[in-house]
Amino acid sequence: MISELIDKMFPRNKGNTYKNSREQAKNRLKLVIAHDRAKLNPGMMESMRREILEVVSHYVEIDPQEMEFSISNDDRMSVLIANLPIRRIKNSKPETTTRSKLEKPETQKTSK
């Protein structure tokens, strides 16, 4: 609040052009560098996301709005982070859903 007041008293610039410029730059950089390092283009990311989602959704129902899927970096090592909030566990057998030739259902079941 006081910060806003000061900003009003001593306007730095018109509008919000500079606000969070540092954070913005850093976040965009982190993302683009993570992709550079992983040598993954956005198309590959998207198809990987779709395929993983497809496999996972045989067993659980994912909230597509809340899901997070990104490449990030940990000390010059790239990590794939998939955060898939589960709405509910599917009780029915995977065979009932439209499934692809990706996985054998038997192995998945036994590992459970």
Binding site: S3, R12, S21, K26, L29
Partner: protein
């Protein structure tokens, strides 16, 4: 044991050549024998920054082709007896030199010096490979701009793939007043992303441009300047001294910015 250091960045215009000229001069001032090698074929500029452009007779191309001896191609600096420059060719095709030829000539030169510092061209093509082929270590130059940091990251990856493990970072042309108000990324942000040790932080300063116009590296100026001190400190850190970094914020830390930071949400 000669140290062969490549100064590289990926992106152009971040200050590689200026840093090469100043570090070479500063190391020579410390009593080291230094050879500066301009690997930017076709677009040589290191001679200009050192004020040696009128003394060039032969270039690295003639030395590689055997048209002159290496000693003849080396241009002695006017002020520092310990400093020489091996100029790049101005007129010939960039593709005229192969990495093998480059390695051979840099190795032969470096035998007589404490340091061989190679000024790398922008980009990551053949010129880059020529510049790093003989190097045992590298200094990455970046500026607080997104494109420069991104390119630096690419180059670090390429250097690591080439087996060059000793890599340090210079953050050039820092504008402390912008960092202070969170308008641009700062040194900590860059380090957080690149994860290599920092060896120097150089503030943006008009005097760097003025010294370039004169053909005299800023470290030679007797009047003290922040970038001049920063260059000298980098030279000493290369030599192994453990020096604290200059407080670049000090001159911008007035009452107004302090109040502003205090109330920052």
């Amino acid at each position: 044991m000669t140290r062969i250091i490549t100064i590289t960045s990926g992106k152009g215009g971040v200050g590689k050549t200026t840093i090469t000229a100043n570090l070479g001069t500063a190391l020579a001032q410390l009593g080291k024998k230094v050879a500066l090698i301009d690997a930017d074929f076709g677009l040589r500029n290191l001679d200009l920054l050192l004020g040696l452009e009128n003394r060039i007779v032969y270039t690295i191309i003639e030395a590689i082709a055997g048209e002159c001896t290496i000693e003849k191609a080396l241009v002695k600096d006017k002020r520092q007896p310990n400093l020489v420059l091996l100029p790049a060719a101005q007129n010939r095709n960039k593709e005229a030199v192969s990495p093998e030829q480059m390695k051979e000539i840099v190795d032969r030169i470096s035998a007589n010096f404490d340091y061989a510092i190679v000024d790398c061209p922008a980009g990551i093509e053949l010129g880059f490979r020529n510049a790093i082929v003989a190097a045992t270590e590298a200094i990455i130059v970046t500026t607080p701009e997104m494109a420069a940091v991104r390119d630096a990251d690419r180059v670090i990856g390429l250097l690591e793939a080439e087996g060059i493990e000793k890599i340090s970072l210079i953050v050039n042309r820092l504008r402390p007043e912008m960092v202070q108000l969170d308008r641009t990324i700062g040194v900590e942000d860059i380090l957080d992303i690149l994860r290599i040790p920092v060896i120097g932080i150089v503030p943006e300063d008009e005097r760097v441009i003025v010294s370039t116009n004169r053909g005299e590296p800023l470290v030679l100026d007797e009047r003290p300047s922040l970038p001049g001190m920063a260059f000298k400190n980098i030279a000493r850190r290369i030599e192994g001294d453990d020096l604290p970094f200059l407080d670049l914020m000090a001159s911008y830390d007035n009452l107004f910015t302090r109040i502003r930071r205090l109330f920052k949400a």
